[in-house]
């Protein structure tokens, strides 16, 4: 009996200690490493989906591009002058008003009201953002002769975000001005200081050749 017990114990012990050989382990690890390598290789190429992820800053750039188009299409809109006493020739002034933090103009390329011909646009620095607001000019209950932002919260689009400070200047006849009213500048310069201490200077030329047209126009009028 004692021998039998010893045999059983031995057999149990031998079963417990039985494991994989080094060769088996190496083969198994090699196969799995190849599998991992193949999976990772395929993932490397399949993960190009990142390209199509809509980055938040892609939207910013799109809005910025639209904003540039809006300024490019600045419309030389004449508004009726307040308290007109000097006669009809002095009755109209260009609708443009700007200071260091915001400016207002009329654009022929709306960003928000896409189906409109021309819109009143206000670009302003508000709550660490540079935003663009629009207001349709030829609309019900709108005084198209002297349009103003009547809405409390007009629809807006964020152009630049994360701004600490902003400075807007207007270039007219080669001179940089901090404010401009009833006159169209040659270009608008926006200096932006971001929260991450980066600084960016942006120029926007008013593309319309109204200045040159006026030179030609003068000649035409002289002939008549």
């Amino acid at each position: 009996m004692s021998f039998m017990k010893q045999d059983i114990k031995k057999s149990k012990h031998s079963n417990l200690c039985k494991g994989f050989t080094l060769l088996e382990l190496l083969v198994a690890i090699t196969i799995f490493s190849i599998a991992i390598a193949m999976v990772s290789y395929s993932f490397k190429y399949s993960l190009n989906i990142v390209k199509y992820v809509n980055f938040s800053y892609a939207k910013d750039l799109r809005n910025f591009s639209k904003f540039r188009d809006s300024i490019d299409s600045l419309y030389f809109f004449m508004k009726q002058k307040e308290n007109n006493i000097l006669g009809p020739w002095d009755a109209f002034k260009f609708l443009f008003e700007g200071n260091e933090k915001q400016f207002t103009y009329v654009s022929a390329k709306p960003v928000i009201f896409k189906k409109r011909d021309i819109v009143l646009v206000r670009v302003k620095f508000d709550d660490n953002k540079l935003i663009l607001q629009e207001y349709p000019i030829y609309d019900k209950n709108v005084d198209y002769k002297n349009p103003t932002f009547d809405w409390v919260n007009p629809p807006s689009v964020v152009i630049l975000d994360g701004i600490k400070d902003i400075k807007i200047t207007y270039i007219k006849d080669g001179v940089e001005k901090f404010s401009l009213k009833n006159n169209i500048p040659d270009a608008i310069k926006i200096t932006v200081r971001y929260k991450n201490r980066k600084e960016e200077t942006l120029f926007f030329k008013i593309k319309s050749n109204a200045y040159y047209k006026s030179i030609i126009g003068e000649n035409v009028y002289e002939r008549i």
Binding site: A35, S40, V50, F55, Y212, I215, E218
Partner: protein, 136 residues
């Protein structure tokens, strides 16, 4: 027996595989995201700055042979201006038939702009009023 039992080799290897795949995936995705972000930021900066430089040049007085260098938003640029063509508007004089008394000139300039080694070419038209003899 139960206390001493552990994972089998297959279990361990499978879990290792899953873990490796997860790590590899996350790593590659993160690397790609970073690469695209850097590329996109660079593109955004060059795009905005180049358009700004172009607009800045267009506000300046253009002269044939003008060459300037500068820096905007950390990007170096240089541009040169070349007069392509110059024409005067035609207006027939009354006294001598065939003579032109048009009093403004039209200039076509070609501007070559280099921003960080990238070359751009664009054209700009300018007008200038000139004095001419006009019969009263």
């Amino acid at each position: 027996m139960k206390k001493n039992s552990g994972f089998t080799l297959i279990e361990v290897l499978l879990s290792l595989i899953i873990l490796t795949v997860a790590i590899v995936t996350i790593n590659i995705a993160f690397k790609q995201f970073t690469t695209y972000k850097i590329k996109f930021d660079k593109y955004k900066k060059i795009y905005r700055t180049t358009l700004s430089i172009k607009d800045m040049i267009e506000t300046k007085e253009l002269v044939d042979g003008l060459k300037e260098y500068g820096e905007l938003n950390g990007l170096h640029y240089q541009y040169s201006v070349k007069l392509v063509n110059k024409n005067r508007n035609f207006e027939e004089g009354e006294a001598s038939i065939g003579s032109n008394i048009g009093d403004f000139e039209i200039y076509l300039f070609k501007i070559t702009l280099l921003v960080e080694g990238r070359k751009y070419e664009f054209y700009e038209t300018r007008y200038k009023k000139i004095k001419t003899f006009k019969p009263m």
